[in-house]
Symmetry: C2
Subunit: 211 residues, 2 copies
Amino acid sequence: MTRPSGGALSARKQPRQARAHLTVDAIFEATIQVLLSEGLSALTTTRVAARAGVSVGSLYQYFPQKQALLFALLQRHLEAVSDAVCATCAQCRAMPLDQMSDALVHAYLDAKTRDIAATRALYVVAAELDTDDLLGAVARRNHSAIRDLLLSAGDRRVHQPDAVAFALSATLAGTTRAVLARDATQGDLAALRAELPVLCRAYLVARSGPL
Amino acid sequence: MTRPSGGALSARKQPRQARAHLTVDAIFEATIQVLLSEGLSALTTTRVAARAGVSVGSLYQYFPQKQALLFALLQRHLEAVSDAVCATCAQCRAMPLDQMSDALVHAYLDAKTRDIAATRALYVVAAELDTDDLLGAVARRNHSAIRDLLLSAGDRRVHQPDAVAFALSATLAGTTRAVLARDATQGDLAALRAELPVLCRAYLVARSGPL
DNA sequence: ACCTGAACACCGTTCAAGT
DNA sequence: ACCTGAACACCGTTCAAGT
């Protein structure tokens, strides 16, 4: 979807033969495995290549830098979450504001907690990269989907929908991260699932009036 | 304040002579400068030592690993923010809930935006470290200060104060981070300052009842 | 078109030698 | 007690040579 055009982090070249495609897939899979089992600090291009069963040279044929590998991984995850958010927004058009809020919270939390270990690993990965463009693109996509959703509410009118969509996005992403990024207990996660819907509902009601 | 007892990230030894104290101060100052001017990926123990005007060997005498240096920097920042939060909690005892909420939001945002470049740099730094213990200790301190504050509200009774303090902490830290971590415009920051008080007030009202 | 792996510059960390 | 800087193991990245 969002493909950095000619940026330093884009893949050096696309695989054109079946053999090459296998190589790229193996590298991706190996990257996730190394990340999960050894951690980012031990993630070495040599180690990834070895795990993938290819030479370092092959890895650098498709990913001009170690960061390009991590960037691609992060991009895939962020776009999957964004897809979930946008799909929910499409489904909830014209519903009452409360239901929209609950559905959105649920969809976001679900997407982020589907594989908590991977999500945590990617929080760490993201800090190592220049993610301004990627995060900006994903944020814009989510923002407009959420704003349009809010404007379609069947029972209330949301004031300043841009500011509210912005704050809602920051709240979903921020609170989830604050809880998951540290070694959250099962109880912490349960508390988040219980409180975040209340928080978002209350905010949206405060920022809206009768139709 | 929170000192990892014998952990791998604690300083190897404390400076005992005036000369040594100067060395440590110079290393700290150099670390911040390199972080701000070159970024984390270019932060090298050799570079920090050179900037500080000492040899690498001296650096390793006080910080057994590069991470110990970064850990100390992060610790100082987090404790400064926590001090601001706790001081505000102490001052706002027995006030109306709305005023508490506003004061808390204001204090947190102020502490985090006093030096935005440094805050952003430390978000990146934190991801490189094993911060579970540090974040846990700071979170516990903030949590109990906020919970006690909420319980002292003069006009309303907060239900499930632990869950609410938890969610409030995650909201303050999370939304602020979500905005600052990406290259936030002046407008983004203004939106956060405008919406976060509304968000927190609305949530606290939803989670409380009359006395 | 794709793959290999030795080679290069550089980094974190150590330690024998100094004051 | 503190400082120095050469030395070591290892990492990211390249490139000449292969199929």
